[in-house]
């Protein structure tokens, strides 16, 4: 009962602290919001770039050619066998006739292509892989399937995409880490300034026999509230900026090439989780770290 009463009092003190030290709380919230917005914006850009690379990667399909002379019925059994492979996400049968017409269309048609027999082209299966990094292994497996004549896979292109993706991942991790460290440093300094402002108060608390936990708890609550408020504000600001930029890009014909991920459908939950965690971590951890040296009285 005594503990609950004490917790209730300390919680109220945390809220009161935040209100009475309004300017410093405001400064801490502003700095946290600024840092989170920068991190959030950068993450969104990287996520979109990564998504574009992934889309391009998926267009790098593998073609398995069925042995020339197989009829359509037999060729489709090859498709069934291909679908059973682990790394195959999608496998679509394309008859020799369809492939022939597509080829002629691509060449622009004309007299030179007249009279080409429908049987000139072999039936084929067009395959999308789940993981393009395993393209070589999958190609080898495809070649072992009975009825497959040969396989056309552009491994060098897959490798290129893999490299871009890796570079993007490493760059994202490094930049986000640097931004997070810079943010923590800035926020910790702001909170330290707030603590410095209150060092006399902390000294008085120590002198009347307050334990470190008793002194620290309201500051942790304050940090928690600052973190939550800052994360909420940063989230909505980021959402607004994102949608504004996405709309601008969609409205410019030259930029329509870029497929922008929908914030509501794809980024909402990860952003809520990231901002919530980052806000709380920075607020609480920043408070605890900053108050440490003032407790040593």
């Amino acid at each position: 009962m005594k503990r609950v009463r004490k917790l209730g009092y300390l919680f109220k003190e945390g809220v009161r602290n935040m209100i009475t030290h309004g300017f410093m709380s405001f400064a801490a919230i502003c700095v946290t919001v600024a840092c989170l917005v920068i991190i959030g914006s950068f993450s969104s850009i990287l996520y979109n770039l990564s998504n574009m690379v992934h889309t391009l990667e998926r267009q790098n399909q593998v073609t398995a050619y069925v042995i020339y002379g197989y009829d359509e019925q037999t060729a489709k059994t090859v498709e069934t066998a291909i679908r059973k492979l682990d790394n195959v996400e999608e496998a679509n049968f394309e008859s020799g006739a369809v492939a022939g017409r597509r080829f002629i269309d691509q060449q622009g048609g004309g007299e030179a292509y007249e009279g080409i027999d429908e049987d000139t082209f072999a039936h084929r299966i067009i395959i999308t892989l789940k993981d393009n990094s395993k393209m070589a292994e999958t190609k080898a497996l495809l070649e072992q399937i009975h009825g497959v004549d040969h396989v056309n896979a552009r491994e060098e292109l897959a490798d290129g995409f893999m490299t871009i993706q890796k570079v993007l991942n490493i760059a994202s991790a490094a930049i986000i880490l640097i931004l997070l460290i810079v943010s923590l440093f800035m926020i910790s300094n702001t909170i330290k300034l707030a603590m410095y402002d209150r060092r006399d108060e902390i000294g008085i608390m120590k002198m009347v026999g307050a334990t470190n936990r008793f002194i620290r708890f309201p500051y942790v609550i304050e940090g928690f509230l600052i973190g939550i408020i800052a994360a909420t504000l940063a989230f909505f600001i980021d959402w607004g900026i994102y949608n504004l930029i996405a709309n601008q890009i969609q409205n410019v014909d030259a930029l329509k090439l870029f497929e922008i991920v929908s914030f509501k459908d794809r980024l909402l939950l990860p952003m809520v989780a990231t901002f919530g965690f980052a806000g709380l971590f920075v607020g609480v951890f920043g408070s605890v770290m900053s108050i440490r040296k003032f407790l040593d009285v």
Partner: protein
């Protein structure tokens, strides 16, 4: 109870503030600790509140051995000692009532205990009508009374007053001393650190004089003996 045995305090810079001093103050005593600036008075207070550790020797305060006290025990030791400072050290954004109640919150007192005890203590120090005021709305003498009430509210075994009248005029100073004497009469040990000779001489109490880190006089005659006398 305070017991210093051969206490030496040398600061990091090499300044020897106290040199093998020994003194004993019993429960219920009223003692003046006097001496000029830089004599070692403040060091004694800092040692008594466990702000610093002695270089050598032993210090006992209300049953705690301070030279070997664990950090987590210090807050509990401090609760047995009420400290009053020259500059009052009140929390500006709390009312008089809340400043005093704060000491009780620290020890986990209930609201009903606080509502019962704080008015009693404010009445004792003559501030029964000032509870809702903020520190900057009352006079210096009244602020010092608030500090005394705060020091007193948890019923500590001892009160240490560090130059409690340093910021007050002679009339207010005398009133504060009378108040401390009354508190002592109720059974609380009181140690007043000061360099105001006239004020000390108006009360017939034990006077411990310190200079350059040594006790130069410890007498019951109630007089502040220094180089001027």
């Amino acid at each position: 109870m305070i017991d210093f045995k051969n206490v030496t305090m040398v600061y990091d810079a090499g300044n020897r503030a106290l040199d093998k001093i020994s003194l004993h103050i019993d429960d219920g005593e009223f003692v003046f600790l006097v001496g000029p600036s830089g004599s070692g008075k403040s060091t004694i207070i800092r040692l008594l509140t466990a702000e610093i550790e002695p270089t050598s020797g032993s210090i006992a305060v209300n049953g705690y051995q301070l030279e070997k006290i664990k950090k987590r025990q210090i807050p509990y030791m401090r609760r047995t000692v009420g400290v009053i400072f020259q500059d009052f050290r009140l929390i500006e954004n709390k009312t008089v009532f809340d400043n005093v109640a704060f000491s009780m919150r620290v020890v986990g007192a209930s609201n009903s205990q606080i509502k019962q005890r704080v008015p009693y203590v404010l009445d004792l120090v003559g501030l029964e009508n000032r509870g809702r005021r903020y520190p900057n709305e009352i006079s210096g003498g009244e602020q010092q009374r608030v500090a005394i009430a705060r020091a007193l509210v948890n019923n500590p075994a001892m009160i240490i007053a560090d130059e409690p009248t340093g910021n007050l005029d002679p009339v207010r100073s005398y009133e504060i001393m009378m108040l401390l004497e009354r508190i002592n009469a109720l059974g609380t040990t009181v140690m007043v650190v000061t360099h105001e000779r006239e004020l000390v001489n108006r009360f017939t109490k034990r006077v411990i004089a310190i200079d350059e880190g040594h006790i130069i006089n410890d007498g019951m005659d109630g007089y502040y003996i220094n180089e001027e006398s």
